[in-house]
């Protein structure tokens, strides 16, 4: 049964996309298929999640070729939690798309592309093989590229070009890295790599190899100074597409960094993880300053994605501390921050789409008056924005608290100061959007107090608005719930961290015991 649970998150989107393409003549049919597929994906992901939570790490040897010779899918707590998050975001974005994406895009395979994207993301989270990860990266890249360019508007094409060029360049680096890793280690299986590289006497070489992967996953995660593809493109497609990109794509890069820098490259932590910590600081600062310089709703949000990636890899970098309690909390904090950020950041993008629909622009100078006309939307924005800025008792606060406490316990004072300062600047950016798009009177509005009331209220009744608002409400509730019911989420994060920080369980779940014996004996 477990093998089915592991493969379903790939098969369901694949089947959905395939059937969706066949139904290309009917938009209505495509919508129905898209929605059903995403709901079924959630059910399957919940099943996988529960299975792994209750029975430990699950693995599946594809085509029954025993690891390390075939490709292995592995579900540990980190993977399956992210798969579940992906599925939930999938439903949210698809429902939102019903109300917001234009007919032409829908007719041109919008929903099938979305499902291929979901499949690529799930594949990246579940695979236990370096080259297979590359393949899923390519699936993600091509489907996200087509989604970015879909519609062919000028700004879209410009953004898509930068997006695809830079990501292809990083793919080349990744492929080279895979080649070199394979050349040295003779294997691509994560568990096997962990086993063999940790016992390898020339650790300097291993560390060098890790740097190639650091760069290539760093590009995906949009860390400093490799993030430019992200702000160049994320503000161009429809809001629904921006939202799923913002929520999930960079997280795949962060996931890959966490995976390889806990499982495989954990020999030279004082070097590699110090580097990660420094990069984390720069990523936070440059991202948040980038946002401060923007005056467009989605550009601000895009730069904040970068800034918050910094927090996530700060958790990874804190492994440099010798204090096990701090390290555990740091990894758990990084994980919690990922989940929180998926919820809060995607929701802000979804809200930006509503603002655009109501006011016809993403430019802050042309927005305004939403506070007077749309109190519900205002409240939802405030919840998401304050969650993002780490205001208690919303989700972001707890992510910040875990990382700050871990950092202080690890005596990493500089990075904690940076993280707190960046938190303040995040609040600054969020209030900028709030003050401009919500508080400020709309630019075309007369000074008459009541004038702001009517146009917005009429706009709320626009077709599709309910479909757009439903996922926004759901995600805002989630941002509150993650804070109010923090205890179980925290405990899960800690269990996840314990699992991640002890790679033995992962290795034993993937490789047969005799093989592990043999490698351990053979190398010594």
């Amino acid at each position: 049964m477990s093998s089915l649970a592991l493969i379903l998150p790939l098969l369901i989107p694949l089947a959905t996309a395939g059937v969706g393409i066949l139904a290309w003549r009917s938009r209505r049919l495509q919508r129905a298929i898209g929605l059903i597929g995403s709901v079924v994906l959630v059910i399957a992901s919940v099943w996988l999640f529960v299975l792994v939570r209750e029975e430990g790490i699950q693995s599946l040897q594809i085509a029954n070729w025993q690891a390390p010779f075939g490709i292995t899918l592995v579900g540990d707590l980190l993977s399956v939690a992210l798969v579940l998050a992906t599925a939930v975001m999938g439903v949210c974005v698809i429902v939102y798309s019903f109300g917001s994406v234009d007919r032409a895009r829908e007719s041109f395979f919008y929903y099938p592309l979305m499902h291929v994207l979901l499949m690529g993301i799930n594949g990246a989270f579940l695979t236990g093989d370096l080259f297979n990860l590359y393949v899923w990266f390519e699936v993600m890249l091509i489907s996200s590229f087509v989604l970015l360019a879909l519609g062919g508007e000028r700004a879209q094409l410009e953004g898509a070009l930068k997006y695809v060029t830079l990501n292809l360049a990083s793919s080349v680096i990744f492929l080279t890295g895979i080649g070199v890793v394979y050349g040295v280690a003779g294997t691509l299986n994560f568990a096997d790599l962990a086993l063999k590289l940790s016992a390898f006497e020339e650790q300097g070489i291993v560390t060098t190899l890790s740097m190639i992967l650091f760069i290539t996953f760093g590009v995906k995660a949009a860390i400093f100074p490799l993030f430019f593809w992200l702000p160049a493109s994320y503000h161009t497609p429809p809001a629904a597409v921006s939202a799923i990109f913002a929520g999930m794509l960079t997280k795949v890069g962060v996931y890959a960094l966490i995976r390889v820098f806990t499982l495989i490259f954990n020999q030279d932590i004082s070097y590699t993880h110090t580097l990660i910590l420094v990069v984390a600081g720069f990523t936070m600062v440059t991202g948040v300053l980038g946002a401060a310089a923007q005056h467009e709703f989605r550009r601000i949000l895009s730069f904040h994605i970068i800034s918050q990636i910094g927090y996530m890899i700060m958790g990874l970098g804190l492994m440099v501390s010798g204090n096990p309690a701090a390290v555990r909390l740091a990894i758990a904090g990084a994980f919690f921050y990922i989940i929180h950020n998926i919820v809060a950041k995607s929701n802000l993008f979804l809200i930006s789409g509503v603002a655009n629909k109501l006011r016809g622009s993403y430019e802050l100078s042309r927005l305004g008056g939403l506070y007077a006309s749309n109190p519900a939307l205002s409240l939802l924005f405030l919840i998401s924005a304050f969650a993002l800025a780490g205001v208690p008792p919303l989700s972001g606060f707890f992510g910040k608290l875990m990382l700050v406490r871990a950092g202080l316990e690890a005596e990493a004072y500089v990075i904690v100061a940076v993280a707190l300062g960046v938190g303040l600047l995040t609040l600054f950016s969020m209030t900028k959007i709030w003050a401009e798009a919500f508080w400020k009177p709309a630019p075309d509005e007369s000074d008459d107090e009541s004038a702001g009331e009517s146009p917005g209220k009429a706009a709320v009744r626009q077709p599709g608005m309910a479909l757009m608002m439903a996922p926004i409400i759901f995600l805002a509730v989630l941002a509150v719930a993650l804070g109010v019911f923090f205890e179980p989420v925290y405990n899960f994060s800690i269990d996840m961290a314990d699992q991640i920080l002890d790679p033995r369980a992962y290795i034993e779940a993937v490789l047969p015991p005799e093989y592990i014996e043999q490698v351990r004996g053979g190398v010594k």
């Binding site: 594809i62 010779f69 699936v139 009177p441």
Partner: protein
């Protein structure tokens, strides 16, 4: 009554406990806040009075706790939140908490009622109630919380609700700016406080303040003491508008008056003072504590009082005078003697009563006359007699004259400074200066508008509706009652509060008449000076104007400069990093990769030894030369066709290498791809504009360098990979098992369709999606979409 619950007991157990009221009180207010807009929709004009019943009943409940708390008992309750990471809603009601709870709920009830009348008919009044009561809940939570994290949670919520309230009049730019300023200043301090609280938890090993308190000198002797102190002070000083962070408070007067009266005089700004009082038993008493609090407090006290007199806007005068009073409280907590603790508590109480009343009166004047400038107000006593009476009573208390409670507060303040073991002379002088300036400000803001010749105002003034009069009047009555019977009415609560500040049970004596003490003499001196200052205020303002240039380097300008430079740095940085040019991005990517990998190799491994193991054959050398020449032609060619042909040469040469190393099927594939690529390129080129060179010599040189660095890194890596082998590669397994287990003799094919079938599936998908992409790019264009 003294129910000691350990944090983390489930709610069901808690329900049996009398102290559950502590948690219930906060949640009641949260619920009230959430319901307020709906209530407003149905009840309309009576909403304010109806909602005021909530805090009023809480006030009554807290008042019933006075006797027990005065005896030294504490109520405790806890609600599970996240016990695994030491977060709990632990609530503890001691003297200090009780005093603040009474102020928050009591004044809160009056303010809610007042606001109902003040903002009568405002179309967003529902939201106003919501934010105001949310603030009330946060503030109550803050003073009741015992858990370090819970303290911070409520602390931040007060900042956030304050932001929404200051910006309530959101259509005005000034209101939005002031809201942001208050949020950023207090938010920055809040983050410092968070770091300080977490360090306290780490250093002491406990996350409950009461437990930390019980552990004695652990923190004061800890290596982290100084950082903790600085961080906590940063939080407290920003929140309580201490110099040099005092500038945000007068700007926050953009808020509607009920907000100023509540948040910015009697409650939120006292949160910083509260946290200092709360921390006094654990962090106080050291030299750095005494120095920092006495000096910053005294400076703020005098500066605030001075600036108050420099202004003539009603609310700004009151705001600066609030800054001054907050400074006095901080100074007293710095002195830290039992007398000073008593003085601090008495002064907090006295100040809340008269300042809350005066703010409401100021709002009434503004509301009824349309005039905010004290110099343009006069003779209102005939038009608004009731308001005038209340105002003058409050002013007398503010000026510190008997028989009002303000007098009692000021007397103990002077006594405390007189008996201070440190800086006594300076502190007395500062206190007298403050008292004198405060007298002048009290006359200016609360007496002058009502007496003298009547001055015309934009609106015809009359006494406001009862709901607006009740608030200040009740506060004024309290001021009188507490002044006349201080020991009986205020003694228990002040004593309990002082006990909390000192960390041990103390008795206090409060009296209206202390005898002919030095303090009384200084009081009299201050009153005389104050009256003089009032009449000579033109001169005082002249001196202030002469000192104007100092303001140019003052902290308010510092804030503006910081905001401006933030914008500058942000846009400069973004211009450099996010230049918009793809070529720059690629250069950064390649250089980062080569630099990081190269550096790591040398730093962690050393200079790689690369031995050429086999001497290459002549045809291998020939092929290598072909590849290099082909690549060079691609780069220098001035014709697209030439470049593509040369690229084909590179590809075919690589294919030949495959042939040489025994991979004919790979070579076949390579040849096919190369041929197709060349054909496709040629087809596409037909549609492109003519070839042009855009880059100059320097750019090309730069690009060449980047390319060489990238290529060199790749070469070194590949040579290393060939050199070093950890273990037998998995491909050996494929070779051995391809035929016996997978029934295929072509190993490459078996790998593709069996060993690594999932990769192949993924790549097929990539191609399919690419095809869809091409289709959509060709068919779905904005210009065509219009026609669909």
């Amino acid at each position: 009554m003294c129910a000691a619950n350990s944090p983390g007991i489930p709610l069901s157990d808690l329900a049996m406990d009398g102290a559950v009221g502590l948690i219930f009180s906060v949640f009641l207010l949260v619920a009230l806040s959430a319901l307020a807009p709906t209530v407003q929709r149905f009840v309309r004009g009576w909403t304010g009075l109806l909602l005021a019943l909530g805090p009023a009943s809480l006030f009554a409940w807290f008042a019933t706790q006075i006797p027990a708390v005065a005896r030294g008992e504490t109520l405790e309750a806890a609600l599970r939140w996240a016990p695994s990471i030491d977060i709990a809603l632990t609530m503890r009601l001691d003297g200090l908490a009780l005093l603040f709870a009474l102020l928050i709920c009591g004044i809160g009830a009056l303010i809610v009622a007042y606001a109902g009348a003040y903002l009568h008919g405002h179309h967003q009044i529902g939201r106003f109630y919501c934010f105001l009561i949310l603030f009330m809940a946060s503030m109550l939570g803050l003073v009741l919380a015992d858990n370090l994290i819970a303290i911070f949670v409520f602390w931040e919520l007060t900042s956030i609700s304050s932001y929404l309230l200051i910006g309530f009049d959101h259509r005005r730019t000034a209101a939005r700016k002031a809201a942001l300023q208050a949020l950023l200043v207090t938010g920055a301090g809040g983050l410092a406080l968070l770091a300080g609280l977490v360090l306290m938890g780490i250093a002491s090993g406990s996350w409950e303040l009461s437990e930390i308190l019980a552990s004695g000198d652990v923190l004061r002797e800890h290596a982290l003491y100084t950082p903790i102190l600085i961080l906590v002070l940063a939080g407290a000083f920003t929140k309580s508008a201490q110099f040099p962070f005092h500038f945000w408070l007068p700007n926050a007067m953009e808020a509607p008056t009920p907000v100023s009266a509540y948040l910015h005089s009697s409650t939120m700004v006292k949160a910083g003072v509260y946290i200092l009082a709360r921390m006094h038993p654990t962090l106080g008493g050291t030299d750095s504590w005494i120095w920092a609090l006495s000096i910053f407090g005294a400076v703020t006290m005098v500066l605030g009082a001075w600036l108050a007199l420099q202004n003539n806007q009603l609310k700004r005068v009151l705001a600066y005078s609030t800054v001054s009073s907050l400074g006095a409280m901080v100074m007293l907590l710095g002195i830290g003697t039992p007398l000073a603790a008593k003085a601090a508590i008495a002064f907090i109480l006295a100040h809340a009563l008269y300042k809350g009343a005066l703010f409401m009166v100021a709002g009434t004047i503004d509301h009824e006359t349309g005039e905010k400038n004290t110099e343009k107000l006069g003779g209102l006593v005939r038009l608004m007699p009731a308001t005038a009476a209340v105002s003058i009573i409050a002013a007398v208390s503010m000026a510190g004259l008997p028989p009002l409670f303000g007098f009692v507060g000021k007397e103990v303040l002077l006594e405390a400074t007189l008996e201070s073991p440190t800086f006594s002379t300076w502190l007395v002088a500062a206190s007298v200066a403050m008292a004198a300036l405060t007298v002048a400000a009290a006359i200016l803001v609360a007496v002058k508008p009502f007496i003298g010749a009547h001055l015309e105002t934009p609106k015809k003034a009359h006494d406001p509706p009862l709901a607006m009069q009740a608030g200040p009047a009740i506060l004024a009555l309290f001021t009188i009652a507490l002044g006349l019977a201080p020991q009986f009415l205020a003694g228990p609560i002040v004593g309990a509060g002082a006990s909390s500040v000192l960390g041990e049970q103390t008795e206090v004596k409060l009296a209206l008449w202390h005898g002919l003490t030095p303090a009384l003499g200084f009081s009299a001196l201050a009153v005389l000076l104050g009256v003089g200052l009032y009449f000579g205020r033109a001169g005082v303002r002249g001196v202030g104007a002469a000192l104007g240039p100092i303001d140019a380097v003052g902290p308010a300008r510092g804030y503006d400069a910081a905001m401006a430079s933030l914008n500058l740095i942000a846009s400069a940085q973004t211009r450099i990093l996010q230049s918009g040019y793809l070529r720059n991005y690629l250069i950064i990517l390649i250089i980062s990769t080569a630099g990081l990998v190269g550096f790591t190799l040398f730093a962690r491994h050393g200079v790689p030894e690369i031995r050429v193991q086999t001497i290459p054959n002549f045809y291998e050398v020939g092929l290598a030369i072909l590849v290099v020449v082909g690549a060079l032609i691609v780069v220098v060619s001035r014709s697209r066709l030439g470049a593509i042909a040369a690229l084909g040469l590179v590809g075919y040469s690589v294919g030949l290498i495959y042939v040489l190393y025994g991979a004919p099927d790979l070579a076949m594939t390579q040849f096919a791809i190369e041929t197709l690529t060349v054909i496709l390129f040629v087809l596409v080129f037909y549609h492109l504009p003519a070839f042009a060179t855009y880059s100059g010599k320097r750019e090309r040189l730069r690009d060449m360098l980047v390319a060489l660095i990238g290529g060199a890194m790749m070469t070194v890596l590949v040579l290393l990979a060939v050199e070093i082998q950890v273990d037998e590669p998995v491909s050996d397994y494929f070779i051995r098992n391809s035929a016996p287990k997978a029934y295929g003799h072509n190993i490459v094919n078996v790998i593709l369709v069996d060993f690594r079938v999932l990769d192949t599936l993924g790549e097929i998908l990539v191609l399919a999606v690419a095809a869809i992409g091409v289709h959509t790019l060709l068919r779905l264009r904005p210009d065509r979409r219009a026609r669909r």
